[in-house]
Amino acid sequence: MTVHPIIAALRRHKAGVILIGLQIALTLAIVCNAVFIIGQRISRVDRPTGINESNLFLVTQQYVGAPSSDTKAGADKLDTMELEDAAALRQLPSVAKVSVISSMPLLNSAWNGGMSTKPQAKSGFKMTTYYFGDQNMLSTLGAQLVAGRDFNAGDVQHAGFRTDAKRPVVIVTQSLAHKLFPNGSALGKTVYMDGSGSPSTIIGIVKRLQTPSTSDWASSFAYDSTLIPTRKDAFFSRYLVRAKPGQMKAAMAAAHDALFKVNPMRVIDDDMGIRSFASIRAEAYKQDVSMAILMGAVCIILLALTAAGIVGLTSFWVGQRTKQIGVRRALGARGIDILRYFQLENLFIAGMGVVVGLLLAIGVNQWLVQHFEMDRMPLGYLFVGVLVVLVLGQLAVFVPARRASRVPPVTATRSV
């Protein structure tokens, strides 16, 4: 079949062709970008934290009438209270492991700082998030040590929340280690934090440990964590608890009662006090999940709309050309030829729409890159988008085209 008659026919329906082409172009542009956004969100939500996430929960509590952690005596008293709490939790039959810790991945409560290989540095810091806690941090989190050793009881010290204590030993993640020491192992090397002059030795390297912050501004150091064996004494404390398998619920309920038994003068918030890691994760990514759902809904509506538009307009064209179709059939065209005609016609219109749509899609993405700090869209998305739109066009055109192919040749002889 030659393309010529199709083009000749389309030229008589300019407005309709332009409208449907424009619709396909806009659909392609929006769907590509929306799917790209969905893809980005999914990969964000799917990225591993580096910890063993099952059976894990976090207790956040606050002491009432606590002494000030700014004084030595106050900090000592608070530390004793924290240790009593941790001991009480450890004794619960449903609990496997407990760690006193300042934060955890995805919690969005972070203590950030800059690390340098030089003392009293003024610039050239590598951003990192500090996890303060006891020797059980790594083992309770379930993060994997790839080199060196874990903290032992002898490494652990304690200090008031706002008091700067020396940090003789630290454990860093592989990602941070590589940024600090791109050529060679970081193990045993000395680093300095926040422009201070006091040295810290890297005694261990963790394979992967995400930082608490999921904000965009913190994405450049999302895996650059530092563990510091210091319990930070404050009017509030956090305990990371790993329950024995299958006893999560029991452990969470028991933890609440156990802590109030140790000391009733404390606040454990009803909603945010004791949270499973699953709920911390859900909260951290709620915005991303909702954006992905929204974009998904928009895509479905758009594609359905475009398919409906194609069905509607092609049906109309089929109705308008019934007589001509009859003539062609009478002159020997088979049903399949008529079907092919409308399919090819659609491919032609969609093809033009796709060309415009590709330009639009790239333009929209550029604009989003400039104004909303989004990433550039890989060409794969465009390719898939084009495929989807073309296939959708073919599917949509099939129903009216098949009706056209069933027009009997005798129609040619009837007057309207």
Binding site: Q23, S196, A308, G309, M374
Partner: protein, 438 residues
């Protein structure tokens, strides 16, 4: 004539039922998707204090120095304690208040009741008239209370219900962090979103609600530490909360009311003079680098409206445009099909205007039906948003009559707009051409 056209349109729409349903669905879904995201966007980007947002200003003083971690040479977003106190002492604005965020525990009187946490802010007396805080009972504390570091508190109606079972609790006392504070006022359901007076520490949209407001000097006296962001360009020389007060760390939010442009420029001069005096005193070794942003500028600068909300609005707008194009295409198909009928009407004397009127009414009817469908879908959409969106944003997207009216109006306007070109085509039908037999 109108009734006749409505009747004609009704007959025509019924004749091609499939096409009509398709158009109504397209308009309905398109408008609903756009209106739903618009409702969220409007809620998130709305002016929290429209009657005076242009008069509220946030001063910024460069306490970090050039190239100290801040991009574009922008000064820090908060003030150091000494700077904030100097600005308070000089009292150059109509109203002003330094603020910092608190998280404190309240111990109920009732035996056996556990203590609980509340959020709040330490503020100055000027905070209340500056932000027009409504009171259910009592009033703000006085400037004298600030000076005397009085143990007074303004509580939210929510905390009032929780502690005192509602009612006028002015004069009663509550135990905050082990110290008694006398209630001087109860705010009247005041919970602005975004929390525009302190977006640095709350991000603007937050589920947090200020339940207690305490005089800032009293809070400092009682050693109630700040719960918000602290940014230090240099480590603090002394430890602890007192050290923080003497440090170059920024942690105090500040807002000032300036009623005229003259006052604004005078305040700018004042800030520059202040920074210069600090430079001369040797506290800062760089020239003044201040900002004085109005509240709307400040909210924009702080990116308070989540960029996701803006992107979804854009996507929804795109979807709406596709709906328009789709409807235009379908209407065109419909009207072109009826060229014969139009030819007859024109031949027996109908002017072009009449053809226009007929088809615009027909498009309007499709739009109205689509709009009603869109209204139902928008309601469902907004409810769905409440499930999927974070609560601090979703709570703001409320259904109201205005939104419904807007949905129907937008749907009708859009359909009529989409129907203009097809109507134009229809009206230009050559009667003689279409009267001939095919």
């Amino acid at each position: 004539m109108f009734a006749y056209y409505v009747d004609l349109a009704w007959r025509s729409l019924r004749r091609s039922r499939g096409l009509t349903i398709l158009m109504v669905l397209a308009i309905g879904f398109g408008v609903a998707a756009s209106m739903t995201t618009f409702a969220v966007f409007r809620a998130a980007s709305g002016d929290p204090i429209p009657w005076k947002s242009g008069k509220l200003f946030v001063p910024q003083i460069d306490s970090a120095g050039p190239g100290n971690g801040n991009t574009d040479n922008e000064p820090p977003q908060q003030l150091t304690y000494p700077d904030a106190m100097a600005l308070m002492r000089d009292h150059r604005a109509v109203h002003q208040s330094a603020m910092y965020r608190l998280g404190v525990s309240v111990v109920p009187d009732k035996a056996g009741a556990h203590p609980f946490n509340v959020d709040g802010h330490a503020v100055f007396a000027g905070f209340f008239p500056m932000l027009d805080v409504p009171f259910a009972y009592g009033s703000a504390w006085s400037h004298a209370d600030d000076q005397h570091r009085a143990a007074v508190v303004v509580i939210s109606s929510h905390l009032n219900d929780k502690l005192f079972g509602g009612g006028n609790s002015v004069g009663r006392s509550i135990n905050i962090e082990g110290k008694n504070y006398r209630v001087v006022g109860v705010t009247d359901h005041w919970d602005p979103k975004p929390m525009f007076y302190d977006v640095v520490n709350t991000g603007g949209f937050t589920t947090q609600r200020d339940d207690v407001l305490i005089p800032l000097p009293s809070a400092i006296d009682a050693n109630i530490t700040n719960q918000g962001t602290t940014n230090c360009s240099r480590p603090s020389p002394e430890p602890g909360f007192v050290g923080l007060q003497h440090s170059t760390c920024v942690w105090i939010a500040y807002m000032a009311e300036l009623d005229s442009t003259a006052q604004v420029s005078a305040y700018k001069r004042y800030l520059d003079n202040y920074a210069r005096s600090q430079q001369q005193a040797g506290r800062y070794d760089w020239p003044p680098n201040n900002r004085l942003r109005s509240l709307p500028q400040w909210l924009d600068y702080m990116h308070v409206v989540p960029s996701d909300t803006k992107v979804s609005l854009l996507v929804a707008l795109g979807l709406f445009v596709v709906c328009l194009v789709n409807t235009a295409g379908l209407l065109l198909a419909k009207l072109t099909r009826r060229s014969g009928e139009i030819g007859v009407r024109r031949a027996i004397g109908a002017p072009r205007r009449a053809i226009y009127a007929q088809f615009v009414i027909e498009a309007g009817m499709v739009g109205l039906t689509g709009g009603v469908l869109g209204m139902v879908l928008t309601a469902l959409g907004v409810l769905a948003m409440r499930v999927v969106l974070p609560p601090e944003i979703a709570d703001l997207a409320r259904l109201n009559v205005g939104l419904f009216a807007l949905t129907v109006l937008v749907a009708m306007a859009a359909t009529v707009l989409a129907g203009l070109y097809p109507s134009f085509r229809a009206a230009n039908v050559q009667p003689a051409w279409h009267l001939k037999s095919h």
